[in-house]
Amino acid sequence: MSSSPDNNYRFEQAGASDDSIQQVHAQLQKQKPDKKNGYSFLPLGVLGLMCSSVFFGSIYLAHYSVRFDPLVVNESAKREKPGAVVVTAVPPAVLGKKVFTTICAACHQVTGLGVPGIYPPLAGSEWAQGNEERIIRIVLHGLNGPITVEGKDYTNAMASLGTVLKDEQIANALTYVRQEWGNKAPEVKAETVARIRAEVGPRTAPWTSAELLKIGQ
């Protein structure tokens, strides 16, 4: 050992010359370590470490980079591609509200209460919440009074809407009516409307309440 123990840290002796350090290490850089049993663990271990760090690094990068999107600052953000169309199902009652307010509300009012003595109410109405076969027919072909709703008689006529509205619009509007203002009745399917339209066939005369009451009894 070149540094004598009694020097008490006053200065250091070197254990190797600069020249030889460079020469020896230049040689070492080219040589692999001794393979004692024809097998050396270290190079393989380092290779394994390199591969696994690249592997896990790439997975981490792919998982948390969120497409390298410059606008995404949160790793738990939605991962869909920007511009991808996402289909969300809108409840039929919501779609039906639009049809109701543009067409039906003119007589039956937005409140669904109608006008006393002239237009019958839908809110709480036994007709609206009753058999769907009847009310689909009313909307498709119209109704000629008299009709009794919630114990009151109405003699007005309702125009046919079957040519104006599609099956799906009728179904949605009826579903809205049957589930709004405290009404609780199952939704009306567009297929049911289509079936009834086909069953009844071309008909120009409006229904009467007597005819309707026979259906579904």
């Binding site: 254990g15 290490h25 981490y60 600052v73």
Partner: protein
């Protein structure tokens, strides 16, 4: 291939003589900044648990003292020490004298005047808002020009080398000589000269800060360990054939790792993810470098007791590994969520700069300065005091701040605990840090006194001279290497 011992020693004396004044100037300025920066750091630390301390004067309020301390330590102590060590080692390993000492002298003056103006600017309230770039803009050009005058001699010395082979320390020194101006110039241009907009600013700043630590201070510390281990132990670096891999891998990955400082920040998520992935990759060079260093030390435990440089190198290596582990842990999102903005993130940067880099420079100084001046360190008690405070300080601060940071993070994440209570609970640990920093400062004063005795022409008159023996040639040990097989 073998040169005669006498010739090589004679050459080294010539090299040391050429490097003497530039290196002494750089080391001397470095130690001055180390003490000034340390004092400022202590003031800032005390203000965290005793808020009234020196708070009456605007110049000494926390918001100015803390960045001033950081900049004084980084650009004053860190850069000067790196210049001193880097130029000397580059000359030694290139087997050529350090030319143009006069230019280096002028450059050293410019650099230190620049730093002094910068620190005064920060204390006067003209600091910028970017970490480690707080010095006002008017010093940028002084620093860059001064650096160019220093760095160019490091590169020139390498390019006129008289040696056949290039050693690992030279890779790191040569690389660092280019990485610093690259980092600093880009940081200055993109943040202060022609600022990028909004969210890009913290990204550039994080890249700069991480780069300054990882591509300037760490390479210098590694260059020192790669040199002093074989130099003093007289034993080649273990598994040296892996060192080039570690070098390229470290450089490549560190350049991308800056984003890991921005986990949870409102910047594009891929930036912090990329930084985290780069920190995963850094496991490879850290393992290889640890194998190199600790493999060389293994079986030479006795040398740790007999060499002060090896002791400091050992602290530096442990600091490097700990800082790397902390860096890796802080890239894990779950962990960062808890400990970000606590004492633990401070600890990471402090470990790189003090635990790894500064201790390496102390070790280098204890080896280099007796050779430049031909004198011994006069007081071995002061040397022991320096290394003792460094060991104790690094140990206490690492364990203490790690525990405190974890506790602080836990409390900060608990919405039920009012912020004031957390500050109160942390008072003990802030005091603890002040004590640790004070302890280190005592060691630095001991270092300064010994430095004055060895380096100042007037004060060094009574110091006994040192006699260096011709170092033996390093031998390839048969145990570690067989004959080359294709």
């Amino acid at each position: 291939m073998n040169s005669t011992d006498k010739n090589s020693r004679a050459e080294q004396i010539e090299i040391d003589a050429s490097a003497k004044w530039p290196v002494l100037i750089f080391f001397g300025s470095a130690i001055m900044w180390l003490l000034l920066g340390g004092a400022l750091q202590l003031i800032a630390s005390i203000q965290l648990h005793t808020p009234d301390f020196l708070s009456a004067c605007a110049w000494t309020t926390y918001g100015r003292v803390a960045p001033a301390a950081q900049n004084a330590l980084i650009y004053g102590w860190g850069m000067n020490a790196a210049f001193a060590f880097g130029l000397w080692l580059m000359a030694r390993l290139s087997a050529t004298t350090l030319r143009h000492g006069g230019w280096l002298f002028v450059a050293a003056k410019f650099w230190n005047v620049g730093v002094a103006l910068g620190i005064a600017g920060i204390l006067g309230g003209y600091s910028t808002s970017f970490e480690l770039l707080e010095m006002p803009r008017y010093v940028t050009l002084i620093l860059l020009v001064a650096y160019a005058m220093i760095g160019v001699w490091g590169v020139t010395t390498f390019s006129i080398r008289n040696t056949e082979n290039v050693y690992a320390s030279q890779w790191y020194l040569f690389g660092a000589a280019f990485w610093f101006p690259w980092l600093y110039a880009i940081g200055q241009i993109m943040l202060l000269k022609a600022p990028v907009r909004g969210v890009l600013q913290p990204v550039v700043n994080a890249w700069f800060v991480h780069g300054l630590y990882g591509l300037w201070f760490v390479p210098i510390a590694l260059a020192s360990a790669y040199y002093f281990l074989p130099k003093i132990l007289g034993k080649p670096i273990a598994n040296y054939y892996l060192a080039p891999l570690a070098f390229w891998w470290l450089v490549g990955a560190t350049a991308f790792a800056g984003g890991s400082r921005l986990i949870g920040a409102p910047v594009p998520i891929w930036i912090s993810t990329l930084g985290g992935a780069a920190n995963f990759l850094l496991v490879v060079p850290v393992v290889v470098i640890a194998l190199n260093f600790f493999g060389t030390l293994a079986g030479n435990i006795a040398a740790i007791g007999s060499s002060i440089t090896i002791r400091f190198t050992l602290i530096s290596m442990i600091g490097f590994v700990l800082a790397s582990v902390l860096n890796f842990a802080l890239s894990i999102r779950g962990f960062a969520q808890i400990v970000q903005f606590t004492l633990l993130t401070d600890l990471r940067d402090w470990l790189i700069f003090y635990g790894c880099f500064s201790t390496a420079m102390f070790g280098a100084a204890y080896f280099i300065l007796p050779r430049l001046t031909g004198l011994q360190w006069r007081s071995s008690a002061l040397v022991t005091a320096h290394v003792g405070t460094a060991v104790l300080g690094v140990l206490l601060l690492t364990v203490g701040l790690a525990y405190a940071g974890w506790t602080q993070g836990k409390m900060l994440n608990d919405a039920a605990i009012p912020f004031g209570d957390i500050t109160k609970a942390m008072t003990f640990w802030f005091t603890f840090r002040s004590v640790g920093l004070g302890l280190l400062l005592i060691g630095h004063v001991a270092f300064l006194i010994n430095f004055i005795w060895i380096a100042c022409p007037i004060n060094s008159r009574g110091t006994p001279s040192a006699q260096f023996s011709n170092p033996p040639d390093l031998k390839l040990s048969n145990e570690s290497v067989t004959e080359g097989h294709a």
